[in-house]
Amino acid sequence: MKTKTPLLKVDSVGIQFGGLKAVSDVNVELYPGELIGLIGPNGAGKTTFFNLLTGVYVPTEGTISLEGENLRKLPPYKITQKGISRTFQNIRLFSELSVIDNVKVAYHSLSKHSILSSIFRLPIHFKGEKEMDDKAIEFLKIFNLDQYKDEKAKNLPYGKQRRLEIARALAANPKLLLLDEPAAGMNPQETHELMNLIALIREKFDLTVLLIEHDMPLVMGVCERIYVLDHGQLIAQGKPEEIRNNPKVIEAYLGEEVS
């Protein structure tokens, strides 16, 4: 596996907010097809790290490259178009838009018809919109959401909103999918379904997945490798069983042993 070139290479990346180093000197390499977990206590900098990867923040040090291409200073929408898409810790759907329109927004950057062709309703407009419609419905079927396609996103139950958010992120046609606590607030049954879903889409779309999660059994169960962040620094990385027994990780989560 290590012989392949990494899909994503994060080289000693850090960011400083004023005097606070939120993330510093993080090195991560993701290889095509991997499912990787990113864990750490609250406030460890996991979401900040995602924001660095997606261009929401510009790193103050280090470089991030996708397939050898430096992503520095690219705006978030360009990074998405290059192939990194994400979900959010607190669901950020377009709540007033219908379920299918949420997915179609993600297709937007792939659309070919121009604003003028839409205003004048040229044939290419209808063709483009029809293509989007068909693709979006196909997509919703995979996620079992097609029966809700005309429902407003905000009217979906919580678990389905999570699913829709993942569907939307996938519709942007990523190579790397970042999931920020996808199982947060789900019951065990829903979590289980979610795990199956992630496995399914990974296979089907030939994806690399980076997953932030608090649910330890879940992370340990599905991830091939795990990175552990604490106070903005990587304190461990490796296979689930290595992580489980790593004294640094135990200390970060449970605190130092009283001597």
Binding site: Y77, S85, F88, R92, S95, E96, L97, H108
Partner: protein
Amino acid sequence: MTTFKRAKGFWLSISLSLIFFAVIQVLIGGGSLNPFYQNTLMFIGINIILAASLHLIIGVTGQFSIGHAGFLAVGAYASAIMTMKLEMPFVVALIVGGLVAALAGLIIGIPSLRLKGDYLAIATLGFGEIVRIILLNIDYVGGASGMQVSHLTTWPWVFAAVLVTIIVIRNFTSSTHGRACISIREDETAADSMGINTTYYKVVAFAIGAFFAGIAGGLYAHNFYIIQPSNFGFLKSFDILILVVLGGLGSLSGAVLAAILLTVVTTFLQDYPETRMIIYSLVLIVMMIYRPQGLMGTKEITSMFKRKGGSSHENKNTAA
């Protein structure tokens, strides 16, 4: 199949609005519609264009802009210069008015659309005032005493402009580009992370909105005989804003309805100059208490008819 149905509804609404146009035209020609009513009709038309154009900026894209009178002023003066100083035909003047306003929209939009919420509102408010004060100090356009403009705005012009405005804004909104704009309104961060170039679409919406405000300006200028910078103060911006909010943020038919309703209310209240503003304000307060989401909420008139399998003619009909 669905596209065919939609197209049918579209042509039905076009033909219905053309019939409406013809009826009014005959009434005007026959002299049964007196100048007072004619003038009200023009105002309704101009206000519809203004409301629809601001709807695109605030209702669809979610950019809270309160300098719309600035674009109205730019369009009004640009078109007045075309007809009065350069002796161009009216249609050229209207288009030039729209284009100059759109240019102003680009110039103000590119730097200020980085701002969000309250900050954008203040910046656009400032823009409106800057336009007014610049016009006040240019002698070429008459400064404070204003500019003489001949009366060229007629019912066919107003009607055509309203129809074009509504069709363009509706077509834009109900396309992938419109969805991109709505996604910015709903959640800019998420839109960004879905690959939407948010700055681009904000500026585009702003420029299209400004273009139609400029067209409205051309019609407005040539409806009056005189235009003065004081016609385009920030109170005018708020008048337009009220139309959009009252109609329901995000609803084109709501904005159109509100424009009709409020123009009629204002016109009839002119008979009671002492209590006019009190009644007007009361209408707004009562409205906001009992229907804070506006007349239509985010719905369109067309969606009310969909369940019965009807078409979208109402929308265009009221628009005419």
